[in-house]
Symmetry: C2
Subunit: 254 residues, 2 copies
DNA sequence: AGAATAGTGTCTTTTAGACAATATTAA
DNA sequence: TTAATATTGTCTAAAAGACACTATTCT
């Protein structure tokens, strides 16, 4: 709806003046994922003030008056990763959902738009700037987070895992040039299950536009084994039919 | 992030006081869908004030200080459909995404959390209350909408169509008791493609927990033909493997 | 009888899962 | 040689697509 609907009923406390009713602060929170050494990692910052001083939290910040939430998220992503805005602009960033519980911040009403970013393995964030204590943390070993960030992060991880099934998103975790073994490890790391290498290869290569083979010489994936053909991400964004996650042994529908 | 991060850098205009920087208004917008006479319909309201006076818009309203966006959406859904809060509480409602373009409302900064609701065929909304001119409108025949509501509505429709593929959401469009023919028409209506009836039946019935057959006597779907067995929604929420939408003849990967 | 919808059955095609076997490199 | 990874190929199983055919009811 919009502000002029204020006249339609009791839903608007008082007229049109934004100062006449309690204002909201709007922030963005970022769940920045990467795959490091075959384990899922997330970028966390250490809080320097109360409440939750010393706890870990998701990076984020206020949406400025002249920017959209998406622009704020992109700006924060560049700041926290230490990348240039141009480089960060090429990273995959997508809106997840908005958290608006009245009590989610003990001091005032803060509505937060959560974003997920998928990045290739980057260097440790530089200490400079205002990202006082940003650090890559293994997802499986994380402790409790400040505010409702634990739930936001868990939601983000669920979403990323689901989106790997029917989008070509996995290439966002890889550097510009990668092997199929590296791409497979992205799936195995996020889903936490091993995949059959020949079947994975068949699926990826028969999905038009998922990846494109490069001309150059092959390269080894880990440092061992036969050198693998190099690929880059193709133009496709959707996976039809999807690459379904193997089911757990238990019942499926509950 | 949270408000105390204000001290961390230039991201917070001025300290912690919410009155010290431009406040945001937070609203919810609702895309309420139903299937009527085999055509997709959406609930729209006519605007009574400028700007966009006389244009159609999505129903919605301000988030109140003591409620979450989800609670606001549920409240608005009850108001606009004329149902009791208890009845409306059983309807399917899900958050879509948040729209925060600085210019989306010409008068002030309004951030809107969009929700989609799926409802069975309901009576025309009563004129009473503050839903001054709410009306079911055929989706295909809609005109331009106020603000960015046209885009919100299109996004909502895309999302609903995609979610029918891998969730059991379609039953939300049906009354508590329905036939498989009615359920199939939901898919055909939202996707705009005909489905093979025997194959659809096989898929639905072999997905555990999607629907449950009822004891009572059968009922005719349109008024013609053989009476059909009645079903109600089962406990399942996800479809594994999904019920994929038939591909269009063209290339699949854009 | 004819139209309309429900429901069953079957054959084919596509896709996925399992897995054997070969190839290429480093240690 | 052995370990590790890449790559090809084959057989089987599961799922979907196509479609013939029967059943029941109304007009």
């Amino acid at each position: 709806m919009s502000v002029t609907d204020a006249g339609r009923g009791p839903r608007v406390p008082e007229g049109y003046d934004p100062a006449a009713f309690e204002p909201f602060a709007v922030t963005v929170d970022l769940a920045v994922f990467t795959v490091r050494e075959n384990r899922l990692h997330v970028l966390l910052v250490e809080r320097g003030e109360d409440p939750y001083r010393g706890d870990w939290a998701l990076p984020g910040g206020f949406v400025r008056p002249e920017e959209s939430a998406g622009q704020a998220a992109r700006r924060e992503l560049a700041e926290e990763t230490g990348l240039s805005e141009a480089t960060a602009g090429a990273l995959h960033l997508e809106q997840l959902r908005t958290y608006s519980d009245p009590d989610r911040d003990p001091r005032m009403r803060v509505v937060s738009v959560a974003y997920a970013a998928l990045v290739p393995d980057l260097p440790e964030p530089r200490g400079g700037g205002d990202a006082a204590a940003a650090r890559w943390t293994e997802y499986a070993g994380r402790g409790p987070l400040a505010f409702d960030h634990g739930r936001i992060l868990a939601d983000a991880c669920d979403r990323i895992g689901a989106r790997l099934e029917y989008t070509c998103l996995a290439t966002a975790f890889c550097p510009p040039v990668f092997t199929l073994g590296e791409l497979r490890q992205v799936y195995e790391t996020v889903w936490g299950v091993p995949l059959d290498s020949p079947n994975f290869r068949r699926k990826v290569l028969t999905t038009p536009g998922f990846v494109q083979a490069l001309e150059g010489p092959p390269r080894r994936t880990g440092g061992r084994g036969k050198p693998a053909t190099l690929y880059r991400a193709g133009p496709a964004t959707q996976l039809h039919p999807p690459l379904l996650r193997p089911e757990r042994p238990e019942g499926r529908t509950a």
